[in-house]
């Protein structure tokens, strides 16, 4: 049953409230991400090895996500790997890594046991495939962010 509401003629009923939240925040990277991004600026992708089950994790973290043992040794990973899965992004949304359309992929870097998310470039979307070998294209001006890699492209 519809709710009957008295209101002056002409006023359309309120059926929606629009809101906007602008959140500015500052956070410190912490010892693991700080080194990860510092090495990234040097053109190196670093992972960290679990002391328990031995998996190599990226990004580096204090505890293993698989067995919860502390991590130990830092290991440099290859900037090449293979595509585990991918998707084509057509919709714009705040904070996305590129202008749509672009291809977002999970990449298993050689030497890592967990995938690394990034975007693909220099490849026709129709040619992207699971298992495809890709290599990082590094930015010339590196600032210690994920954008230090512009994208991954087919490895030749």
């Amino acid at each position: 049953m519809a709710l009957e509401v008295a209101r002056p003629p002409g006023g359309s009923p309120v059926d929606e409230v629009r809101g906007h939240i602008d959140i500015l925040f500052r956070h410190t990277l912490g010892p693991y991400y700080e080194r990860f991004f510092r090495e990234m600026a040097n053109g190196k992708i670093m992972g960290i090895k679990c002391t328990g089950c031995g998996v190599v994790l990226i990004p580096p973290r204090p505890y293993c996500s698989f067995c919860y043992a502390p991590t130990g040794e830092w290991v440099e990973l290859s900037d090449e790997g293979r595509i585990m899965t991918y998707t084509r992004v057509h919709m714009p949304f705040p904070g996305q890594p590129a202008e749509p359309p672009y291809t977002f992929a999970f990449i298993m870097l050689d030497g890592a046991d967990v995938h690394f998310p990034h975007i693909l470039g220099e490849v026709d979307p129709g040619e992207v495939a699971v298992g495809m070998r890709v290599k990082a294209r590094w930015a010339e001006d590196r600032k210690g962010t994920l954008h230090d890699i512009e994208y991954f492209r087919p490895a030749t």
């Binding site: 509401v5 409230v17 906007h20 700080e34 705040p94």
Partner: protein
């Protein structure tokens, strides 16, 4: 160690989250906001089963869950039930800080409405307050600018 600490403390990233949203009011709150905007009157919903009057109104009674379609005018005065003082500012704060968040049981209602009041020492539990309506209406809860002591 000292150098490590300094490097860590300076590894600050600034980020911005920019979230726009559109919230569908539903029938009950839509009626509440329309009436507030158009005639500065406050509506509650009446439960046909247990008789509880909810303000802000709800399509289902919050006590017994029964669907409700009857609306009734409540307020405009109400009694402050709970007060929290907000002293830190934040984006889109409804009033300049410090201000007070208040839960108000409007006259004729059985539930409380969350709103704001100025940082006035008289805004305490038990205080009788009335709405100060915003001169420019927006069809939102902020068409009540804030609640103030009735005696003012």
């Amino acid at each position: 160690m000292e150098e490590d600490k300094e490097r860590l403390m300076s590894s600050v990233r600034e980020q911005r989250g920019d979230v726009s949203y559109r919230w569908s009011t539903g029938e009950a709150v839509g009626a509440f906001l329309s009436t507030l905007r158009d005639s500065e009157r406050l509506l509650g919903s009446v439960c046909p089963e247990c008789g509880v009057v909810s303000c802000p109104p709800a399509s289902c009674c919050e006590r017994c869950g029964t669907s409700s379609s009857e609306l009734r005018e409540v307020g405009p005065s109400g009694v402050v039930m709970v007060v929290a003082r907000q002293s830190a500012g934040f984006p889109s704060a409804p009033l300049d800080v410090p201000f007070r968040y208040v839960l108000i049981k409007l006259a004729g209602a059985d539930t409380t409405l969350l709103h704001v009041a100025k940082d006035d020492e008289r805004i305490v539990p038990g205080a009788v307050v009335v709405p100060e309506f915003a001169p420019e209406k927006s069809g939102t809860m902020m068409d009540i600018a804030y609640f103030r002591p009735e005696e003012d």
